[in-house]
């Protein structure tokens, strides 16, 4: 069997396995009730229902008097009153909180991590710089192999180490 065919089969198997994992991860709600051990509830981002009404969730603050956050739950996106964070957040902030859902639908936060909105942009900006840096190094250090079957390191590259 030729190298190309073997390689194609290997790539197909790897992508199938990855796709299988991704779909399987979307079908495991049972684990959530037993401890909420998946970071993502199937179909939900940044939301963990840990036990009973305890949850860990990421919220975008959309109001501060009272503090209201936008979260995503299995039921979809919702705005929810968050208690225990009054005075410490601003509109536009992102928080990660651990707390308990109350009977009135509000969330009583017991642990909060604030992600100030300006820092999010700083993080995105320097992450973009990192990607550009790595892309630059890839372009400078790798080329199409003489055999044409993929990339290989350029030989004798004595460029600056940056």
């Amino acid at each position: 069997m030729g190298e190309t065919v073997r390689r194609s089969i290997l790539i197909g198997l790897l992508l199938t396995a990855q796709a299988g994992l991704i779909v399987y991860a979307g079908t495991t709600p049972g684990a959530i009730r037993e401890g909420g051990l998946l970071e993502e509830v199937p179909g939900v981002q940044e939301y963990e229902l840990l036990a009973d009404d305890e949850l860990a969730v990421q919220a975008d603050i959309v109001g501060i008097e009272p503090v209201v956050g936008r979260i995503t739950t299995p039921a979809g996106r919702e705005r929810v009153r968050i208690r225990g964070v009054d005075g410490s957040v601003a509109a536009g902030d992102r928080i990660r909180l651990y707390g308990e859902r109350q009977a009135d639908g509000t969330i009583q936060a017991s642990s909060v991590i604030l992600v100030a909105s300006e820092r999010l942009w700083f993080t995105y900006a320097i992450s973009a710089i990192a990607v550009c840096w790595v892309a630059y190094r890839v372009v400078r250090g790798w080329h199409l192999a003489p055999t044409g079957d993929g990339l290989s390191p350029k030989g004798g590259d004595e460029g600056s180490d940056a």
Binding site: L14, L15, A25, R96, D157
Partner: protein, 164 residues
């Protein structure tokens, strides 16, 4: 998780340190370590394409989470090696990209979280979430600053070794 700059700076330092001891780990393979350090953050595609929306579009259960688990990262590393690298460079590419990816997961395991636990990186083998020492937030600037200093020092050592 720490910002990508921190990840790539750590990977640069790690790759360079490997190059001091392992002859074939030259500059291109240091770059491969840095590429590996970015791979687990493919999961950030969820910011553009939320799992909910992809699932609704495809009509299938869907979650990006596995891209940030150990098994999913290994599959990503293997795919990069199989797709991108030539046959002659494949094994070394797999090793170096894998080292970078592993460094990413380790760094993420040091993050501060509301629950004091990290993500389920061993899923689907186990859903255990390791406790995290909570050293920093992903948006803290000081890890990047610290790693930049380490990377600069590493680059200076590299230059000295090249000059010798």
């Amino acid at each position: 998780m720490p910002d990508l700059l921190t990840h790539t700076l750590v990977a640069f330092t790690l790759g360079s340190a490997l190059s001091w001891r392992i002859g074939w780990v030259e500059r291109p393979y240091v770059t491969a370590v840095m590429v590996g350090a970015i791979l687990p953050d493919l999961v950030k595609i969820k910011l553009l394409l939320p799992s909910v929306e992809v699932a609704a579009t495809l009509g299938l259960p869907f979650s990006w989470l596995p891209l940030h688990t150990l098994l999913g990262v290994m599959l990503s590393v293997a795919t990069v090696g199989a797709v991108v690298a030539s046959r002659a460079a494949r094994r070394r590419t797999l090793v170096t990209v894998g080292a970078g990816a592993l460094s990413h997961l380790i760094l993420d395991g040091l993050l501060r979280t509301p629950t004091g636990r990290g993500g389920p990186i061993f899923w689907p083998i186990t859903e255990y979430q390791p406790p995290t020492p909570g050293l920093y937030l992903s948006t803290d600037p000081w890890p990047a600053a610290l790693c930049l200093c380490l990377a600069v020092a590493t680059a200076m050592v590299n230059r000295r070794l090249l000059a010798d």
